[in-house]
Amino acid sequence: MYKGYEQRDGGISVEKIVLMQNISSVEHFLQEGEVPRRVLEDISIIIKRSEIWGITGGSAFEIKLMLEIMANIRSYSSGRCVLIERGMPMHKRIILSHVFYIGGSEMIYDNMNVLEFLMLAAGKLNDNKLELQEQIFEFIIDMGLGKISLTANSMLTKEEKAVVILIAASYSDSAMIIFNLPEYEFHEELVNSIAKISKFIRKTGKTLIMGTCSSLMIERSCSHTTFIAGGKLIYNGTVKNLRLNFDKVAVIVRDKNLRGIMEKLAVLLPGHKLSIKDGRLLIESLTEKNKKTGYIYKKILETGFVPEYIETNSKTVQNAYEELVLQYDLQK
């Protein structure tokens, strides 16, 4: 589909893109009356080729710092960090050709339009400039960004600029792309575009590591995710596993009389956890045996109520993380 592109990684097939072992940051959080703690502590993660990672957490600062260490921008206090099996230079702020770092949207040229900028960024890939122009133009449209394809960069929002830079990164020869913008708020349309670009990046054998506070972004774009809480990683694995293991809500009920339904169901559904949240009755199965939603539907009808709305929970990243954080707080 997008011919003219080839993965160039010095001809070396590298599987481990990032290896972080027991990394602790130099930076500390200082709060009055409390013992200072390191912003990041004992961080261990392995990121492999062609994986799309969403690094998230309660603090944008923690996320940003972790990705800055990964990109060789910040020093770390202890531990070991290896990028693309080439080690990490002692001197920081050295630009690594195998890492495309996106830490802001200022790197885009405002005196060009989107297509012109991407042509400039990807110019060395193809000698036939006309073919490349057509390829990039159609790529922008396929990614759902047709409406900004010929827009002047100066008129774009910082989020739109960031997505344009991500396209430039996807056309680069860097094996690893770090999209470190957890403070940015991407609307759903842009999230969908990022999801499509992520697919393309994955297909080309590159690795994308995104710092984000958006659960939707992780759900739509990422194959793997990790959650930082209190400077530590409390989850590290695939998005699918996260959703299946931590979003335990089986059925959601909406009605004016949620309290009445809950009281009746408490009797009819032993082995289930019932809770009301944001005007919704959430029904969780506490045992493997009771996980069948058909059984829960039957019991709801047995209450004698006909709820306005019943749905099978589609297991979202947002719910999974809420549960994860809850469990972490309880452990503490």
């Binding site: 297509l115 006309l130 057509e134 047709g146 409406k147 008129m155």
Partner: protein
């Protein structure tokens, strides 16, 4: 008037058309370049053929000059390629057709007995002189042979007294070498 932020469908289509036009233009240029290449090949072949002809002519001329000089030095009739001979007109008997000093190219005849009226022939007289005159009459001899009455083109000349027999015919006139 402030510029609209978003790219419209029309602008997208216009860009697609522009890319298509440029591609077609490039294709045409490519085709022209390929055509020009073919044309240059033909031109190259023609030039090579020209050079071959020119060099052949030069070689022929040099070999002719060499053979003429060699024949002259031996007192023989200069010839080249075995069938052509060159003569220098030394008298005014054929004026105005040939001025004195004109070089003429002649060919050894395949059938000297079948010459026609108006042919210019070079022959040996009975006294052994070499003369170039025109046949003015073809005469049949007894026994089926032919004899020719000859005459110089100069109006002051009368017909030659001796009849020319085919065995004394040396060559038939082919062409006058220009500028001689």
């Amino acid at each position: 008037m402030p510029q609209a932020k978003y790219t419209t469908e029309q602008e997208i289509e216009e860009m697609r058309m522009e890319i298509l036009r440029e591609k077609q233009k490039m294709q045409r240029e490519h085709d022209n370049t390929t055509g020009e290449k073919g044309f240059s090949k033909r031109r190259l072949a023609a030039r090579a053929a020209g050079w071959t002809v020119f060099l052949s002519a030069v070689i022929l001329l040099i070999s002719a000059i060499v053979s003429i000089n060699a024949a002259k030095s031996k007192g023989q009739i200069p010839s080249f390629l075995g069938i052509f001979q060159l003569y220098v007109v030394e008298s005014g008997s054929m004026e105005p057709t040939f001025d004195i000093g004109t070089i003429i190219l002649c060919r050894i005849p395949k059938e000297p007995q079948s010459l026609k009226e108006n042919d210019i022939v070079t022959f040996k007289t009975l006294s052994g002189a070499i003369v170039t005159h025109r046949i003015v009459e073809v005469m049949a001899e007894e026994g089926g042979g032919a004899a020719y009455r000859t005459k110089g083109d100069n109006p002051q000349n009368s017909e030659d007294t001796e009849l020319l027999t085919p065995d004394r015919v040396i060559a038939i006139f082919v062409a006058k070498i220009p500028l001689t």
